[in-house]
Symmetry: C2
Subunit: 251 residues, 2 copies
């Protein structure tokens, strides 16, 4: 039933719209929150108050609101995520020690890929990925590794969302992406060259849990001129297998 103010969102949807206002990691005034969540100030004031009372948002001394540690705490204790990080830790460290390049652990969230862990050395290629950032599936190595093994429908949703070009290497054609996905499934590795970041290539391998479901991907991003060096694909493949084994996967 539409509300008098013409906003037919539920209370829950309005609450979550407030949380989404913090998507880019900002600290916001009440006015900025109301604006981003498309809420009248009075409603924003009341619902932000509910978030603060619970601890999901915190009001700083400067009057700006930020996301509280509570959300992090709820999510970081989540058992499958803990198991994954614990299983991955030593493999990521080994990959990083061996290459000095960016090493990532990522999971799929809807039509995006979210970076859970990142290790980087001072000489690694410039890269826009960062822990907690969310990037498109079609334009990243980890994204392609996850998309190739995603449930039916995800591929179609990604295509329907538009294959935005970022760099010369971004796949923007549906058929080409479909063929790439088949190749990733066959080879067990996703390699993308200058898909998202100029001067960088990425090689990624899927990580499976005990049921065989692909739950994550591990990758290295390095300077594009190093793309023919064999240790990247080898290291990432072994890391993917090892983390999967630690999660209980038996091929």
């Amino acid at each position: 039933m539409p509300r008098r103010d013409g906003d037919d969102r539920s209370v829950a949807e309005k609450l979550f719209a407030i949380a989404d206002a913090f998507e880019r990691g900002d600290e916001l005034t009440l006015g900025e929150i109301a604006d981003r969540a498309r809420l009248p100030m009075s409603t924003a004031h009341r619902l932000v108050g509910e978030w603060v009372a619970w601890g999901g948002l915190v009001r700083g001394d400067d009057g700006r609101f930020r996301v509280g540690i509570k959300l992090w705490r709820l999510s970081v204790r989540q058992p499958s995520s803990r198991r994954l990080r614990a299983a991955a830790k030593l493999y990521l460290q080994d990959l990083f020690d061996a290459t000095g390049e960016h090493v990532h652990l990522a999971v799929r969230e809807g039509l995006g890929v979210v970076y859970l862990e990142r290790m980087s050395g001072p000489d690694a290629v410039p890269s826009i990925t960062d822990v907690g950032s969310r990037l498109p599936l079609h334009a990243t190595g980890v994204g392609q590794a996850l998309l190739a093994f995603a449930p039916p429908g995800v591929f179609e949703d990604v295509v329907a969302g538009g294959l935005r070009p970022y760099q010369p290497g971004t796949i923007t054609d549906e058929d080409e992406l479909r063929a790439r996905m088949a190749e990733v499934r066959r080879v067990g590795l996703a390699t993308s060259v200058e898909a998202l970041t100029k001067g960088a290539f990425s090689v990624a391998a899927p990580v499976r849990d005990a049921t065989g479901t692909v739950v994550a991907a591990v990758s290295i991003i390095a300077h594009v001129e190093r793309r023919t060096e064999p240790q990247f694909a080898l290291g990432v493949r072994i890391a993917g297998r090892g983390i999967s084994a630690a999660l209980g996967w038996r091929p």
Copy 2:
């Protein structure tokens, strides 16, 4: 206004009660969520559906719900938390390399202390702290370091909540805790011996941001027989100062 069902919680409070059901990091069935959040199944079903539609909860193949990566992503990009972790990283690594014991970075959340980072070696003393766990302020080194510099009222709230004993070294007396807090402020370090964990001692130092506000604490937890070795207090103190300086604090 009390509702017909006798539950006078707001929709927001009910939604947050659902999230709180996941406090201990479990994966829950709808029935378990309804039970923990004290909601009728129909309400739980509807509100869990809102959480899932937003991405805050995810339904697994086994029908159990868990916390989605979305909450983690919202919280981990929060700038003050990012700054803190970035500033602390090398200091924590140095402390860990030098001692091989548990090294922690923690922040206060209400009347508890939450562990943001932990580094541990295989020979470290057994300890119940873990990343994302929340422990009482009065019974941990980091908790005491944070409580000593907390805003007025927090101390009284902690005392009112009851000073639960965990080990022989837990401070359970209000006057003794008050005196300890004054000592922590004077010395700039909090040392607790077998307060929470048998066989372990903890030494913690506050971390200040550019405004001088104590925003975190850094600590080492080690075997109690090592408590007189000078490098722990020294290392933690220097780490606390260094992280503060990296956050812009100038004494």
